[in-house]
Symmetry: C3
Subunit: 343 residues, 3 copies
């Protein structure tokens, strides 16, 4: 069962991954897609398979905003319609599927479902990333061999940091604090407010020398797999509105049922012009994600041997609340979408 | 559905690939075959799996024209009959399938179907290769991860050269010229006669400095996947019988449903004693095949994800005529052969 | 059909493979197992998959004799019972399967079937390895990509040495001598008594300069795949009780249906304090197993393409008697065990 939510925006690439004169081949929801920029710079997303002999269009070339198949020369406009057939007249049906795209938050977003339903919609709101300066911004990309919801689980249960990242994000405060989970129209909110706690190693490294700290971590999830985190700390008792926050987005896009494009971006509400601090934080984050999270998530996937998550009867813990509610809500959205499509 | 034409000759190897004292293991139509030369130098082809414990005979050794299994010593004659059993009497049924072979055109041909039907037959006629001198001959071999008919399609629709090989064979003359396709008893003929055309880059490199040229490309296909090409050019208006032709064979043999042995050989009707020209042409051709054709064909296969060609509803173009008629004819031959076998 | 004998002891590792402070991950009968030593040094074997989110426990850490999952911190005792849940109360069902183990003959043995049936039982008797000195002992391990019974066949039909190991163990005496096969309560005995034979190459290397020798090779097999071999030679006519014997164990444990843990150990009844001879023999044996036996057995497996052994209708030779009777006996044991489990 290949069940993805279709009628929504997925992050397909960071903007710098799609350059003016090259085609990016990337699989999204198990479909091969060719991404390129038209002459105005707008990103085009076409099904990456020529309807003639199934060569990847991404092995072709760009000319005049159209992509020309590198095998027999058919040319396709950004609508997917064939506009060049050097071998004869162009049949009405000669085309490839074209997918709506949007460029926003330095990312390229794609709509894999019914294009009519995309009209008038926007990629989900990522408020921290509306007004970005380079010196307070970094992003990254990892490809992981695991179901995208294992990556989502990882973010939504931050108690994992106490065990998987003991030297940086750990320390036990997440485990000792019950998250507040709130469902709302646009998604779900998870809040950890860890009052009067021992600082995490990374908080000490960041100069928080107090023996006890008050910290906040606020996750906003929106379907299907888009999360932002606002996180910061102050010496215990200090008004939290004097604190500084790190602002991070974790966005997962299914490549296949068993592999994921993991995009992350970060900014902060302090020292926004300090490019040096910016690089240091970015490097540290990429290291933790790639050396600690990714191998664990891929190991989970391997142990599951392709079996469906619920069929394995996972033991549920208190810390799973957010992740489980998100899974159930998303399952329901996928079910309703399939029902609507069948009507 | 593993559907290959069985009762026909397949090219299995070039003669130099099967040396006097070594065994070549190669899979043909998904069957493992051990090839070796008997004491008289004739090539023997045995099913490469000992009937005792299924060890590959190709890991054994040759002695007195027989192959001896390297695991428990059973020896098999070129007929496939066991002739040495160090462990006791030889049962009547102790044997491996043996396949008819022929050595012709510097190649080793194998018959994978009913051996009775092979009697009195010969590998298909390759007229250009009857009388070969070393200085006007070269051959090559590539293994490709794609269905063999994708390799056949590639040759039968030469318009691809205009897009895939723009710097050598391209230029547009194939695309601008409709091929004449003629079915006949022995197979199918495709003729491109490109009159008064701009020369291809490679024609210029070969010294054809005229602004316009008349060129001819004549393909003869015979089942299942054997093609020869005669190709040459003269300054426009020159009598074509004053022209020189390159003569090339493209011969595909299925390794499995998804991989192919691609053999090619070349000669010419001019400068046949110029070994230097010969090497240069051969190197250039091998480079084009391996760096341009092979990756594109393997990419097609990947995009088809194991689905049957027609089930994907390929868009048909004028330039497909030959390839499509060949596919239909071959499908019909396979169907008839299966029916005959079922009677 | 994944059919293994379950209610028996399998060798899982050599003792030195499981160190005090590390966890060994190894798959046995297609189940992932985490092996480690508790505080008393006893080996614990737990199903290597946390019941919470299916992370491998082997990626966790050891503390106080318990293994703590490296993802969210659940801790499990050697019984498999969860004893630490940092996220709340411990449900009665929160546990992982735990497997009985025994440490014996420098090996770690595991019982994959019903633990109740393991009570009061011991790993099979390996008499030569009861009283071992380092200077007369060596062991080794190979992982092979083949069904474990192909490894068993290899040992039980020693005529293979005449063809696969001609320069060491070969010479033809096994092939010329019919083995005596005797079934008994505890398993099966295969005896080759090769009287008045030409010495094997390795016997000459070992100083047996007589032109003819009397040699003995006595295999004891016990289910499912445990064999010991006693083997030696004297100048022809010398009383055999004056001879020296090499004593070797070959023990196979299925990793999956198509891969095997191959353990071997060796001792001897002479020169037991000569560590130099010991190393030399061990190195030679490991070389033969890894460079000659293993590639042949993996090649058999590849040729069988996942098909069941009997379905391929192997030709039976005299030398197969022991191996075939062992296969039939084991098949019967597996069938009876499955019947008993279904009752």
């Amino acid at each position: 069962m290949m069940a993805f939510l279709k009628n929504c925006w997925y992050l397909a690439a960071w903007d710098h991954e799609i350059q003016a004169s090259a085609i990016l081949a990337r699989k999204i929801l198990d479909q091969p897609i060719a991404f390129y920029r038209d002459e105005a710079g707008a990103v085009v997303a076409l099904h990456d398979r020529c309807p003639h002999r199934f060569a990847p269009l991404s092995k072709g070339k760009l000319e005049g905003g159209a992509v020309h198949c590198g095998y027999h020369g058919l040319g396709f406009a950004s609508t997917g319609k064939c506009i060049v057939n050097p071998h004869g007249p162009i049949g009405n049906n000669l085309s490839v599927p074209s997918y709506p795209t949007k460029e926003k938050y330095r990312g390229i977003w794609i709509w894999m479902g019914d294009p009519v339903l995309a009209e008038g919609t926007e990629p989900p709101c990522l408020p921290f990333f509306e007004d970005i300066v380079d010196s307070a911004y970094s992003n990254g990309y990892l490809r992981g061999e695991a179901h995208y919801m294992l990556f989502v689980d990882n973010v939504l249960d931050l108690t994992h940091t106490d065990y998987l990242h003991p030297d940086t994000l750990g320390g036990g405060s997440y485990t000792r604090t019950r998250a507040t989970v709130t469902e709302h129209d646009k998604g779900m909110s998870l809040h950890w407010h860890c009052w009067n706690e021992v600082p995490q190693p990374i908080q000490r490294m960041n100069g928080l020398t107090a023996e006890r700290v008050d910290s906040w971590t606020e996750i906003e999830w929106s379907a299907p797999s888009i999360m932002t985190i606002r996180n910061g700390a102050v010496p215990a008792g200090t008004p939290v509105d004097e604190g500084k926050s790190f602002l991070v987005a974790h966005i997962m896009t299914p490549e296949t049922e068993a592999s994921t494009h993991y995009f992350f971006a970060a900014t902060r509400d302090f020292a926004r012009d300090d490019a040096e601090v910016n690089s240091k934080i970015a490097a540290n984050r990429a290291k933790i994600f790639s050396l600690e999270d990714l191998p664990m998530i891929e190991a989970q996937q391997a142990r599951m041997k392709g079996q469906e998550f619920w069929s394995l009867k996972p033991a549920l813990l208190r810390s799973d609340e957010g992740a489980v509610r998100v899974r159930r809500r998303l399952d329901e959205m996928i079910r309703m979408e399939a029902e609507a499509a069948a009507r």
